[in-house]
């Protein structure tokens, strides 16, 4: 059975891009357009890893991170953002990895495999 990754990203075009690229590596991808949706998904589905944008409407990524981890303590989380400076925010340290968005998605897929032991 394929491992499932939850992608929480408010930009539709980026959701499409990341979903397609991650699926090429043999994973199933569920998507959410904001933190609230992401938390609903995690409560209903067995998710193996979450990818999280930081700047999102309604609930930002760091707040979402706290809520995700309070319901699933051991869930591997990758913060994937266009901002580099949130790395210094201790709230982001709760994530397993912090990657800055780039057109080269190999770093993201490599990190997913590493965290899932694939």
């Amino acid at each position: 059975m394929k491992k499932t990754i939850l992608l929480i990203e408010d930009e539709e075009s980026q959701r499409i891009l990341y979903q397609e690229e991650i699926e090429k590596h043999g994973y199933a991808v569920m998507t959410a357009a904001d933190g609230h949706e992401g938390i609903e998904v995690i409560e209903k589905h067995p998710i193996d890893l979450a990818i999280l944008d930081i700047r999102m409407p309604k609930m930002d990524g760091l707040e979402t991170l706290g809520k995700l981890l309070s319901s699933r303590t051991n869930l591997p989380v990758i913060i994937y953002t266009a901002y580099s400076h949130y790395k210094t925010d201790f709230m982001s340290w709760a994530a397993d990895s912090y990657l800055v968005k780039s057109s080269d998605l190999s770093e993201l897929t490599r990190k997913i495999k590493e965290l899932l032991g694939d």
């Binding site: 930009e11 690229e21 409407p57 400076h85 800055v100 968005k101």
Partner: protein, 223 residues
């Protein structure tokens, strides 16, 4: 003061980097996919996304240029009602898409002496902000009236408004509560109004109320 300025420069740079990196990463990602794509429909989709992301980058650049330098105002008198009729036309598609209404309550004979292009820029930013704050089926209202020597223009909406902790930051370059947008709109509005000693810009921001309003006033030349 120096520390505050440096901190503002830091926030400015971080936000600018974010505004550029996001579309650039999307353009690069979809362009790389194109290299191996055999499906013409998917290739077409990728191209459309690339074009749309390029437009976002152009918006960032345009706002940045407007923010950094404004040409000197070229004033002339014009009828405000006709001016707003044009604005309604410009916003009609976006309003329809969002099921929102733009109401204009401006006397037909009210004359304003101002740079029409700059005033258009101010109104575009204020109305865009109002529109973006509406949840659904909201109303944006533009009113104008004369108060002694001043012409007052007020843009209000029944959208979400700003939480109190964000109200102090709204004029900071690149501060935005939206997931898209450059965060330069109100900075540009305020700067346009600062350039003109006879103009005033006032704002009253409310949170989740019906009184989110931005007011601008222009004094007649001979007043």
């Amino acid at each position: 003061v120096t520390c505050q300025r440096l901190a503002a420069v830091g926030r400015f740079s971080a936000s600018l980097a974010h505004e550029i990196r996001n579309p650039l990463a999307t353009i690069g990602g979809f362009a790389k996919q194109l290299l191996d794509l055999k499906d013409p429909a998917k290739a077409q989709r990728n191209l459309k996304i690339i074009v749309s992301e390029i437009e976002k980058l152009e918006d960032v650049l345009n706002n940045l240029l407007e923010f950094s330098s404004f040409p000197a105002a070229k004033k002339h008198e014009f009828l405000l009602r006709e001016f707003f009729d044009e604005i309604v036309e410009v916003f009609s598609i976006r309003m329809e898409k969002r099921k929102a209404v733009l109401r204009v309550d401006v006397p037909p004979d009210l004359v304003l002496s101002a740079d029409k292009a700059q005033m258009g820029e101010v109104m575009r930013n204020l109305i865009t902000n109002s529109l973006d704050s509406l949840s659904s089926s909201g109303v944006v209202t533009v009113k104008a009236w004369r108060e002694d020597a001043d012409v007052i223009i007020e843009v209000s909406d029944n959208g979400t408004g700003f939480p109190p902790e964000q109200q102090k930051k709204v004029f900071e370059p690149f501060f935005t509560t939206k997931s898209h947008g450059t965060g330069l709109g109100l900075t540009i509005v305020k700067k346009l109004y600062r350039e003109e000693p006879r103009r005033q810009y006032r704002h009253r921001l409310a949170h989740r109320g019906r009184n989110n309003r931005e007011t601008v006033s222009s004094r007649r030349e001979n007043a």
